[in-house]
Subunit: 253 residues, 2 copies
């Protein structure tokens, strides 16, 4: 139990390769899509009563399921309200080479810092049928409890490749014929005018500083999301979602 709570710390996740999954929705998707990676599932009596089908699925998948009290669950969880259920799972080991074959839509986040933003982008990538989410080094850990929570189960639907070097990643995308589209507020090309029919990757920068000019310049195209009102910008998760949906709609005509 103390070991579970410790997974809120990045160093412990890194050392053990494990992470914490909280709440019925995320636990359900974990069991459905990544059962072999499950180490343990912890359920309160209330969680078991409310989500009997998740409890059954965990057993059917051969997971170790432990009955715990509300107090024990609260002590293990990072969330204020883990809703009766948490799991510990092994992080997937997935590299860039594993996700690029045949990829048509990707998103690359450079030095993203806010966990809610990263989780929301993973959810948006999943919703739009993207092939993977790529995250550079010096970003928030994609398997932190807050990122998992805002991902709402999408971590188990779409591969997330982390700790990437941005230049090497752009080069690898280029070699595969995947066009890289940097989003920048002052870019000359507006999103509705961008050609989104072929394989491409959206490249978005840090919340406060955006993309470094050198990174944007290394992309094939710079694209601006038009701002029609007086807002200075969109937040990172909104920007990524708007771009990804533009791609998903363009591909389907």
């Amino acid at each position: 139990m103390r070991g579970v709570a410790a997974l809120a710390r990045r160093s412990v996740r890194s050392d053990t390769g494990r992470f914490l999954v909280e709440g019925p929705q995320a636990v359900r998707e974990l069991i459905r899509y990544a059962a072999p990676s499950v180490v343990d599932v912890y359920v309160t009596p209330d969680g078991r009563a409310r989500h009997a089908e998740i409890y059954s699925a965990a057993y059917a998948a051969g997971c170790f399921v432990h009955d715990v009290t509300d107090e024990v669950l609260a002590a293990m969880a990072d969330a204020d309200t883990p809703q009766g259920m948490v799991a510990v799972a092994q992080q997937p080991v997935v590299g860039l080479a594993d996700v690029l074959d045949g990829a048509r839509l990707l998103v690359l986040l450079h030095e993203v810092r806010d966990p809610g933003n990263l989780g929301t982008v993973i959810r948006g990538a999943d919703a739009t049928g993207a092939d993977a989410v790529l995250v550079t080094a010096n970003s928030v850990d994609a398997f932190s409890p807050k990122v998992i929570r805002s991902g709402a189960g999408s971590h188990f639907h779409v591969p997330v490749v982390s700790r990437l070097d941005v230049e090497a990643t752009l080069a690898a995308l280029g070699e595969r014929g995947i066009r890289t589209l940097a989003t920048q507020g002052d870019a000359p090309l507006a999103l509705p005018d961008a050609d989104l029919t072929g394989p491409h990757a959206w490249v978005l920068g840090n919340e406060a500083h955006g993309l470094p000019d050198a990174v944007a310049a290394a992309c094939d195209e710079r694209v601006a999301i038009p701002i029609y009102g007086a807002a200075e910008s969109l937040n990172l998760a909104m920007a990524a979602t708007v771009c990804l949906y533009a791609s998903a709609f363009a591909r389907r005509g």
Copy 2:
């Protein structure tokens, strides 16, 4: 100072009609777009040094500007990091009748609960040039510190009309010839197929429960945002932003 901190409470905002604006970006937009509503501005020496142009603008606009210490600002603020500057302002008094004339794009949120979602929708409405954000009763207070923070200044760019009755609002929109589009995951019409050329309002429901069927049925059209992957849904702010951008792009051909 104690009175400022009390503005974190909804009852105090309601009784006084005042609200708290935190951080240089929001204070700058407040002064630029709504200077007559400013009651007081509080600035630390560091905030004054870093944002001299906001300090000057506040003086030029005739605002009462008070120099305070970091400790005093921290005690007044709701944010962990108010970044050297907060303001107290009078809430705008704006009703439905004030925003419907000539409106072409609106968003109506029904019983939205998460402050980050509401603020992000206000920011998205601003970015897409929407004419107003409408919020029903039993929603989070649009002028709470968290909503103001995630709005990133957009509260001062786009009118926000709160405490609305949903049925009366749908009727008022209908009378003005503004089509109402309910977003529902199982709606028969997909977003890319919706006709978004005329005046319309997006209608979105609560984060957990979506729109009640009766509200969706009272709208002119039910529209689904397609999910191409395995995600169950989008979060409210993402859904609203994707719909609003679809409208903004459609209007401009």
